[in-house]
């Protein structure tokens, strides 16, 4: 069987896997953005206890490998607490917890990167802290963090491959199955490498386009 015949034959399985990969990435990131913003708010709040809770979470996620987190949640926690969870959902949760921690740090650095004088100017006009944040600081911070956020999106997409170890039927898993069946490891893994590359390259280009749109003329710093 030639490379292309193998590709043709495997394509349905690949596409199905890619669908699961994208689905997991999408839902994980959706949760991660909300989680990241929430943790970021805890982190910059004036309450010491909230700061500590947030930084413990971030430190734990950053300080442990994603693979260990996946095993811990899917096998460890389910066994200890006696509940069942599909491997896809477990994957989404792990990826969301992981990306959420990194995103919270990205958001925080974005807010810190906005000049201190901006908050002072807004407050001096009589705006509340919340209004100053939402109308003055965040619009600027968002622009600053877009490249890093996009980067995290791509990392999370790649991290879905790790979730294959807990059995989620995403692209990596699909490739493992086909490679094991056909003994064509080189060809199969080359194929999915190309597929990953196409998707990620497209995402990168989209993010570059968004960046350009946001910085064009409007409010250059």
């Amino acid at each position: 069987m030639s490379f292309f015949e193998l590709f043709q034959q495997s394509l349905p399985a690949f596409l199905k896997g890619m669908g699961v990969t994208l689905q997991m990435t999408f839902f994980a990131l959706l949760i991660a953005i909300v989680l990241g913003m929430f943790v970021c708010l805890l982190r910059i709040s004036n309450f010491k206890i909230l700061n500590i809770i947030a930084s413990i979470y971030v430190d734990i996620i950053r300080g442990t490998p994603l693979l260990a987190q996946a095993f811990f949640l899917y096998f460890g926690l389910t066994a200890a607490l006696g509940f069942q969870i599909s491997n896809k959902n477990a994957g989404i949760i792990v990826l969301a917890l992981n990306a959420g921690a990194y995103l919270s740090e990205i958001f925080r650095s974005g807010i810190n990167a906005v000049n201190k004088g901006q908050m002072e100017a807004a407050r001096s006009l009589g705006l509340t802290y919340a209004k100053a944040m939402s109308k003055v600081i965040l619009p600027q911070a968002i622009r600053i963090v877009i490249p890093s956020v996009m980067n995290q999106f791509i990392i999370t997409l790649k991290d879905t491959t790790i979730i294959s170890v807990i059995g989620a039927q995403e692209l990596m898993k699909a490739a493992n199955i086909i490679a094991a069946r056909t003994y064509r490891s080189f060809d199969v893994y080359a194929m999915i490498a190309i597929l990953y590359f196409i998707v990620i390259f497209t995402l990168t280009k989209i993010s570059e386009y968004i960046e350009r749109r946001l910085s064009n003329g409007k409010g250059k710093r």
Binding site: A121, L125, L127, K131, R143, K220, R221
Partner: protein, 242 residues
């Protein structure tokens, strides 16, 4: 009529005492210039007037309302106190007009149309009508500072605080900003100005206050302070800057 009343104001940054008990009454319509060497506490004092810097001890009363009383709504009180910063601090993601319109709209003082009309008026007043739709990045320093003054005026404050408004400007742009400030002073605005522009202080101020090491060392009419300073520290400072 008494506009500002500061009683026994102390400010610490950690253990460092930068304001060591300041008492000051400013009358309505008065233009007060604060001068003094850097590190004398004059900017900190100014920032205590609208509580951007929380005071450690003492009281700040503006229009009979205490800003240091935690029960008062500080945001409401700040609406009537305009502030202009050394670094302009315009909002870079908003146009000149949007900078001016933000607070009146957000604080529900005006509708969008009213705010736009007001922005137009204010930009005209500072001589920048044609910059209505420009972003701050496309304006010179002097223009940015004039927009910043217009922004501070948008809430119709009855007192304006200026924190070294010309210190970050190229020399040829200082004049245009000072002219706007002179116009304000002439219209009867109560103004507190931290400045190194001795010419401006001499010409426009009703009172000049010399601060050093966290206290008011000497104050009086400009002629008096500049022409015949009584305190040795004032004399030394003026000898260096004049």
């Amino acid at each position: 009529m008494e506009k500002v009343n500061v009683k026994n104001l102390h400010k610490y940054f950690d253990k460092l005492e930068v304001l060591k008990g300041i008492d000051l009454i400013i009358e309505e319509g008065e233009v007060v210039c604060l001068i003094g060497p850097s590190g004398s506490g004059k900017s900190t004092f100014l920032r205590c007037l609208n509580q951007l810097e929380e005071t450690t001890l003492g009281e700040v009363i503006i229009d009979g309302q205490s800003l240091t009383n935690k029960n008062n709504n500080i945001n409401k009180l700040r609406e009537t106190i305009g502030m202009v910063f050394q670094q302009f601090n315009l909002f870079p993601h908003l146009t000149a007009a949007e900078n001016i319109m933000l607070a009146p709209i957000q604080l529900k003082r005006m509708t969008k149309q009213e705010a736009a009309r007001r922005a137009k008026e204010l930009l005209e007043m500072v001589g920048l009508s044609e910059k209505y739709d420009e972003y701050p990045a496309n304006l010179s320093g002097g223009q940015q500072q004039r927009v910043a003054i217009a922004r501070a005026l948008a809430m119709n404050p009855d007192i304006m605080l200026f924190d070294e408004p010309t210190s970050a400007l190229d020399p040829e742009m200082v004049g245009e900003v000072l002219n706007v400030m002179k116009k304000l002073a002439k219209d009867g605005m109560t103004m507190v100005v931290v400045t190194h522009e001795m010419g401006f202080a001499r010409e426009v101020a009703d009172r000049v206050i010399f601060m050093d090491e966290g206290v008011i060392v000497e104050q009086g009419k400009p002629d008096q302070v500049f022409g015949n300073p009584q305190n040795e520290r004032t004399q030394n400072f003026l000898n260096m800057v004049l």
